[in-house]
């Protein structure tokens, strides 16, 4: 489904009714819930590729660094600061 968000018209349709849009693509209930709640970790756990998931984040105006914070339990500002300081070299 996320692939379809590369078309501008589809992005409008998605925003107009997110739940119907998920239905249209046959997403399972837990997948739809993860999308509606923007549960980014759950989207990955349910098999979403980071590159697909990122398309949704971009629509929400969120950055990969925001997502990085979510995945690692940091705020976006802390994650950014960690990157600017040379990245997480110890994991």
């Amino acid at each position: 489904m996320f692939m379809s968000l590369t078309r501008a018209q589809a992005r409008e349709e998605f925003l107009a009714d997110e739940s119907a849009y998920c239905d249209r693509f046959g997403l399972a209930e837990d997948q739809t819930t993860a999308v509606l709640r923007r549960d980014w970790q759950a989207m990955l756990d349910l098999g979403g590729s980071i590159f697909y998931v990122y398309k949704l984040a971009m629509m929400d105006g969120l950055s990969m660094q925001y997502l990085g914070g979510v995945f690692t339990g940091m705020t976006e500002a802390d994650f950014k600061a960690a990157m600017l300081a040379g990245g997480r070299t110890d994991v």
């Binding site: 692939m3 590369t6 990955l44 590159f51 971009m58 990969m64 660094q65 990085g68 994650f79 070299t89």
Partner: protein
């Protein structure tokens, strides 16, 4: 025969493209990165080849993840810039070189490489950001026709580093057997160390990256011998993109001359690296 005149390895981080598109060349966060590119850009500006081959990966923009080719080659006369979810980058579409594409396709298939052929293909930041690293101000058109060579690095199982290096060597043979005398530049893209998702998100490994920047010049076999797991452990889950540099290196001579290297952390979440090699023997330089 065609002659490979240079090889350029470079990261393709989308935010590098975004920073350029927004004119942030002199922004304090970005200026050091772009300063590192400058010597390479100047050297390349005087050495525009007749055609370039750009080894890259798509990020679920040109090709749906329902179909994942291990190796793909474009044979189109034009490649549109992809809309990655926020409108397309304001850079020129890519002009292809179908004649050389078909020659490479046929040579590679006969050489036992199971290429997927793209008669149509939209190219994403994995393709256009390296072009911007090479040519920051393309105007209406990139400096020469470019042929996309696509590698699966985002979906397990990726090809081995050894197979990528072998593809590069086959690419070198294929270029050498092209009937026309043309000059070719090769770009290997992706990396360096980075991981986008999971608990290791934000991982950077400068030690590995510097080793890679050295070895890609003098000892590519050593890099070709590393496993998929080695790359992911040492360079992060997206750092495995570095195997695409081995395709570039494989197409070049055993001995190459280093023109310039640069390394900068971070470009967004990624360690950005650049390595430019002259493929002509010193006597001819």
């Amino acid at each position: 025969m065609s002659e490979v005149i240079w090889g350029l390895g470079t990261s393709h981080v989308p935010s590098i493209g975004a920073a350029m598109d927004r004119g942030l060349h002199d922004d304090p966060v970005w200026s050091k990165l772009f300063a590192g590119y400058q010597p390479a850009r100047e050297w390349l500006a005087d050495r525009t080849p007749d055609v370039a081959v750009l080894v890259y990966n798509d990020h679920a923009n040109g090709v749906d993840l329902d179909v994942v080719p291990t190796f793909g080659i474009g044979v189109a006369d034009r490649y549109a810039v992809a809309d990655e979810g926020f409108g397309r980058r304001a850079v020129p579409d890519v002009v292809g070189h179908p004649e050389l594409s078909f020659h490479l396709l046929q040579s590679l298939v006969d050489d036992g490489f199971d290429m997927t052929v793209f008669r149509e293909l939209d190219v994403d930041h994995g393709f256009t950001v390296p072009l911007s690293v090479w040519t920051p101000d393309p105007g209406d058109a990139w400096p020469c026709p470019v042929i996309p060579l696509m590698v699966n690095v985002i979906s397990y199982p990726q090809p081995t580093a050894a197979r990528c290096y072998a593809l590069g060597q086959a690419l070198g043979r294929a270029l050498a057997s092209y009937p026309e005398d043309i000059t070719v530049g090769i770009l290997g893209t992706g990396g360096m160390s980075h991981q986008l998702a999971g608990t290791r998100a934000g991982f950077i490994n400068p030690t590995f990256d510097h080793m890679f920047l050295d070895a890609i010049e003098v000892d590519p076999e050593k890099l070709a011998a590393l496993s998929r797991e080695d790359y992911i452990r040492e360079a992060g889950s997206e750092g495995i993109e570095l195997i695409m540099w081995l395709v570039m290196r494989g197409a070049m001579n055993a001995e190459v001359t280093k023109v310039h290297t640069a390394y900068h952390v971070p470009a967004s979440n990624t360690a950005a690296g650049l390595a430019l090699f002259d493929n002509r023997a010193p006597a001819r330089a």
